[in-house]
């Protein structure tokens, strides 16, 4: 923990206070800054704030580039405008706006949420283009390109003048801010963050992905619709062309510039997006900004140069961007003409130099300067829950086989486990152990054969099904939820958030003192234990451990052995892949040995040790080595 001034309050409280101060300031601003223009800008900023908090749900929390927000904003605006035209009152008109964005948003979400990265971006991009086309072409409804004008309806028989309307928008913004914060701190929010870090782990732990993604997307779309409704009430006139590609890019960049996964970031982005076009009309102020930007951007590469090392790209590129901006400010007679270019340069510098955005950078500065009291942790109660006893084998595979591109990874394996036993799975590298676990947990569909967990046949290729049947697993290559804390990693896997029980699980895996640390800050060994804790949080009847001791130090291995034995004592069946012989000998009731994709032996650890086939599999047989004396092709290398 670094030094800094101790404020004696919790970070959350400090944030609440700061937010309160901000909103008070914003609310009083029209009193001291009396100008219609200022009011217009502030209102637009509040509306964009709502819109960007919505956009942050997908771009920030889901980690997907969403290019449809501008179009959803437009749909919402049209929904509200048409509702006003048909005489609906204020609140219903806004609701109509929300629905007008939410329903098409849902239609978009169904196909695209299964996609990732560029493909998600593309599907939202094409949705956005389609939406604008439809608005423009449905002349009988939307009046097409001519646009529609609507008056601002009465707010419960009260007329909202510009200032009151601004206050109304502020109230909405603060509510949306609060609700969004709440949503993304809830289990849904945690699940979404977990999903971004490792979709495989969330699937395998049954956290569920599509549902949560849909919630985030729906929330974002509704906010877009809501903001659209406010927008049309603010300006009173709408045209489809206003919601095209330009707005979309600006919004997206606003979120990135401000800082993702943070309502403060969305708000900062909204402020930047609103104020930026005005920045260029005042040359003096622009020069000040650019100079300041240059100073900030040049510190990193200068530091590097002073330390006699070549500045990294992420240090030098922002400096180059700002320098170019500076040159433009000096030499270009009319900066307005370079608006897009200057915008691009600022953003380029921000995206490369401040990947967490302005707020992200500020927050980490503040955390360096100030120290906050930590959140109190709940007391631990509960812990591992015993699975209900049953007669069926927790795991049964029947003749499963799987091959990849000509290489048979698993061939014809049938295993069954008994309840409460630890079955070891060993074999040389590449003998197909992990593939077998992947088949069992549904990541791969077997080419032949079937898998049953607690008597339930697992649908092919579905991680969720295995998890629902009570199987839970860890991963050979760690799949941590890097942005969650240790405690959150556990709670997100629980069927229902139960912090005391989560603390108890942390205690069981020996991480209670690290509950507040983010997974990105935990050591490799800690993460291995945390993965076990995570798997236990889903209350499994079958636990699959894929090389839990890999990369662990000796004392940790002893702890691991103890932990695994104690888990078994709760009646949970364990299938463990492991190379550390001591782990296998000490904990396993039975050991299965694989070689070349086949099951070559099954028995107690003692039997296995003496099995000549196994010894040969591990040490290699004499007969595989050519005797010296053979004549071989000789290469003249």
């Amino acid at each position: 923990m670094s030094g800094g001034i101790n404020l004696g309050i919790k970070e959350k409280t400090a944030e609440h206070l700061a937010r309160l101060a901000l909103f008070c300031f914003l609310a009083f601003l029209p009193m001291i800054w009396q100008s219609q223009y200022a009011l217009g800008l502030l209102t637009l900023m509040a509306v964009y704030g709502i819109l960007l908090i919505g956009l942050d749900a997908t771009v920030g929390y889901l980690g997907q580039v969403n290019l449809a927000q501008a179009a959803l904003f437009g749909l919402g605006a049209y929904g509200t405008a048409l509702a006003i035209q048909s005489g609906l009152p204020f609140s219903l008109a806004l609701l109509a706006g929300v629905m007008a964005a939410l329903l098409p948003g849902a239609a978009l979400a169904l196909p695209s949420l299964r996609l990732d990265g560029p493909q998600f971006a593309l599907s939202t991009l094409s949705f956005a283009s389609l939406a604008v086309i439809v608005l423009n072409e449905s002349e009988s409804i939307t009046n097409g390109a001519l646009g529609i004008s609507v008056p601002r309806p009465l707010f419960f028989s009260m007329e909202l003048d510009a200032r009151r309307f601004y206050w109304f928008c502020l109230i909405v913004l603060s509510a949306v801010w609060w609700a969004s914060g709440l949503l993304f701190k809830s289990r849904i929010g945690l699940a979404i963050e977990a999903l971004r870090d490792s979709p495989t782990a969330t699937d395998a732990l049954g956290i569920g992905s599509l549902k949560h993604k849909a919630v985030a997307f729906a929330w974002g779309s509704s906010l877009a619709g809501f903001a659209g409704g406010l927008h049309v009430m603010n300006f009173g006139y709408l045209q489809p062309s206003a919601f095209g590609y330009d707005l979309m890019v600006i919004l997206l960049l606003g979120v990135v510039f401000g800082g993702r996964r943070n309502q403060w970031g969305a708000f900062t982005g909204a402020a930047a997006v609103t104020m930026l076009p005005n920045l260029l009309s005042n040359r003096m102020m622009f020069s000040v900004f650019v100079t300041l930007g240059c100073l900030v951007a040049f510190t990193a590469p200068l530091k590097a140069l002073l330390a006699r090392r070549r500045p990294a790209f992420s240090e030098s590129a922002p400096a180059a961007g700002m320098a170019l901006c500076f040159a433009l400010a000096l030499f270009v007679p009319n900066l307005e003409l370079w608006r897009k270019g200057i915008f691009a340069l600022f953003l380029f510098s921000a995206v490369v130099g401040l990947p967490e955005g302005i707020t992200g950078a500020l927050v980490s500065e503040i955390r360096n300067l100030l120290r906050f009291s930590p959140e109190p942790l709940p007391a631990a109660t509960g812990g591992i829950s015993e699975p209900a006893p049953s007669d069926t084998a927790p795991l049964r595979t029947r003749n499963i086989s799987k091959s990849f591109g000509g290489v048979i990874a698993v061939r014809d394996i049938s295993i069954a486990t008994e309840q409460g036993e630890i079955l070891g799975l060993i074999g040389p590298n590449g003998s197909g152990k992990t593939t077998l676990i992947n088949l069992v947990t549904g990541l791969y569909a077997p080419d032949e054969g079937s898998v049953e967990i607690s008597g339930r046949r697992i649908r092919q290729g579905s991680l969720m099904a295995a998890s629902a049947a009570g199987a839970s697993r860890t991963f050979q290559n760690l799949q941590p939820f890097s942005s969650l804390t240790a405690l959150e990693s556990i709670t997100v896997c629980q069927r229902k958030i139960d912090k005391p029980a989560a603390m108890a699980l942390l205690q069981i895996v020996g991480l209670e003192s690290k509950a507040r640390l983010r997974c990105s800050e935990l050591s490799f060994g800690d993460l291995r234990f945390l993965e076990i804790g995570r798997a236990l949080a889903t209350q499994p009847s079958l636990l699959l451990l894929d090389e839990p001791a890999a990369g662990m130090a000796k004392p940790d291995i002893a702890r691991l052995i103890e932990l695994i034995s104690s888990i078994r004592d709760y009646g949970i069946t364990i299938l463990i892949i492991e190379h550390h012989q001591d782990v296998i000998t000490e904990v396993c009731n039975r050991v299965a040995v694989m070689n070349g994709g086949r099951l070559i032996a099954l028995g107690t650890p003692e039997e296995i040790r003496r099995d000549p086939l196994v010894v040969e599999a591990y040490l290699g047989g004499e007969e595989t080595v050519p005797s010296s004396g053979d004549n071989h092709a000789i290469l003249s290398c």
Partner: protein, 238 residues
């Protein structure tokens, strides 16, 4: 020929290798033996530049190659035949082999002709590759892919080859052929560092061996002595 001193390396901040020192004299075959997760593959990757060591120094052929990228190291004659074969699945067998010789082939023009002599030799060594030369490498069986991977490395005419787990996932019958190939290489005078989980096989074909455990060298010596050492077997089966 190759000397690595006090190497620390790993992934994402955690060190898998904790101060390993090994030496491979010219013309010899040295084995790296150890259980899975002992750090054999990490060491192999570090030596040939796929991983940059946190600490330590690697000298090849009298030159410091620490921190160079894999392609430069490969061009200097230290070639890795990677774990899991890593053949270029969508390309044909012959193209895979040609790629092994990439640095010395012209980029445009009669590169096939120029490489034909070397190709002949590889096909002579692994006749099965000749039969499959225009087939996609991804459609080969595991053993064939391993032959191809070895053949690809040989096309580079390396001064030294690091073979990382050539036996990975292969059936015993196929293993024999692979080890035959390794013995053949030795005879031809290529310096070899063989990282291998099957201790017996590795010790049988090598001059010297290092036993790795948990990222450190726990035992080293002539292979014939180590093969008789009961603690080696113990290290494997616990």
């Amino acid at each position: 020929m190759l000397k690595a001193e006090n190497i620390f390396a790993g992934y994402g901040g955690s060190n898998v290798l904790k101060g390993i020192t090994i030496e491979v004299p010219e013309g010899s075959c040295v084995a790296l033996v150890g259980a899975n997760g002992a750090g054999k593959s990490t060491l192999a990757k570090t030596l040939c530049g796929l991983l940059i060591p946190e600490k330590g120094r690697i000298v090849f052929n009298g030159r410091d190659i620490t921190g160079l990228c894999a392609s430069s190291i490969s061009r200097k004659g230290l070639c890795l035949c990677p774990e899991g074969r890593r053949v270029f699945a969508p390309l044909s067998v012959e193209e895979n082999l040609l790629l092994g010789a990439f640095p010395r082939l012209p980029s445009i023009g009669p590169f096939r002709k120029k490489a034909s002599g070397d190709l002949e030799k590889i096909y002579g060594m692994f006749p099965i590759l000749m039969d499959r030369k225009s087939q996609q490498a991804g459609s080969l069986s595991g053993g064939e892919q391993q032959m191809l991977a070895i053949g690809r490395v040989l096309m580079a005419k390396p001064r030294m080859v690091i073979l990382d787990e050539p036996s990975l996932g292969l059936a015993p019958i196929v293993l024999k052929e692979v080890f035959e190939a390794i013995v053949g290489l030795r005879r031809a005078g290529t310096t070899i560092l063989l990282s291998e989980q099957f201790a017996k096989n590795a010790l049988a074909v090598s001059d010297r061996a290092y036993i790795l455990e948990n990222g450190t060298v726990v035992l080293e010596g002539p292979s014939s002595e180590l093969a008789r050492d009961p603690s080696v077997i113990e290290a494997y089966l616990g």
